[in-house]
Amino acid sequence: MTKKIIQLLSIILAICFICIGAAGAASSEDEAIQVMENFAKAISTKNSELLSSLYWHSPKTSYFAPSKDGAFLTQGWLEGGPGVDISLSLHHPQATILSDNVAVLTGYHTAVVTDPETKQQSTDLIRQTLVVQKIGGKWLIVHEHASFLPTK
């Protein structure tokens, strides 16, 4: 009787381990997407500390910022957040895991910008690519390319 209970418990334990493994694989994508979600949150709430924590603070980090007038590549981590009142909502985030340490994130942001003086609002759609690398157990942005999507 005891042997049977032990056998049953062993099977349950084995199933648990398999499930944990599967959950871990799924969470790698979830963890990566969390970076994009936190990006939108940090910009919308003007949380520069959260924004800073999402990037790899390295001279290797680079970004193409969204700009209607044209913006060249920024190389190296620069402290700071958006100068304007902007609210981002993320749509269709997608993670492609390239390896244990590198992933590509894509998604769209609806950006609502409020003019500080007139309080007039304008809306834009932004396409975003984030290349994230797992450094010290945490997914960090090593490259960003964001660009406006013409709505007309």
Partner: protein
């Protein structure tokens, strides 16, 4: 006898130095290989070589592309079908050049290439030319010894 031993030690020392330097030499060639993919991308467009163009992308569903001013294209079939439309122009009507390419090597045989494209389009009837500038990001992965594009993002850079 002593000079022969010294000579032997010197050769061994030089050999060790060469072996020590070897990894950095291969790292440099990885960057060159990544750059070659981008140069081939440009070459494919200038020569209207669709076969070359499609060979540069990873044949997988996970491959994705944000072409300038468009939504995300997912999968090799979808991306190459989208690119094929551009290959219907007569050869010589589009002239692409790459500027300021920059490569960042990442772990696990992955790399990011950033740069700018200048595209001069010539109308075959009027010979009138227009210029476009693009910002380009390519994410590449070395699979079976070959660097392939797994994601790209192109966006317009207005000509002032």
């Amino acid at each position: 006898m002593r000079s022969k031993i010294l000579y032997g030690f010197m050769i061994a020392f030089i050999l060790c130095l060469s072996l020590y330097e070897a990894p950095s030499a291969s790292a440099a060639s990885a960057e060159e290989e990544v750059l070659q993919v981008e140069n081939n991308w440009i070459k494919a467009f200038n020569a209207m070589d669709f076969g070359l163009m499609s060979s540069l992308y990873l044949r997988a569903d996970k491959t994705s592309s944000f072409p300038p001013n468009d939504l995300l294209y997912q999968g090799w079939d979808t991306i190459t079908a989208m690119l094929k439309i551009n290959f219907q122009s007569p050869a010589g009507t589009l002239a692409w050049t790459l500027h300021n390419p920059q490569i960042t090597m990442l772990p696990d045989n992955t790399a990011i290439l950033t740069g700018y494209h200048i595209v001069i389009s010539t109308d075959p009837k009027t010979n009138a030319q227009t210029v476009d500038q693009l910002r380009v990001t390519r994410v590449m992965q070395k699979i079976d010894g070959k660097w392939l594009i797994v994601h790209d993002h192109g966006s317009g850079l207005p000509v002032k």
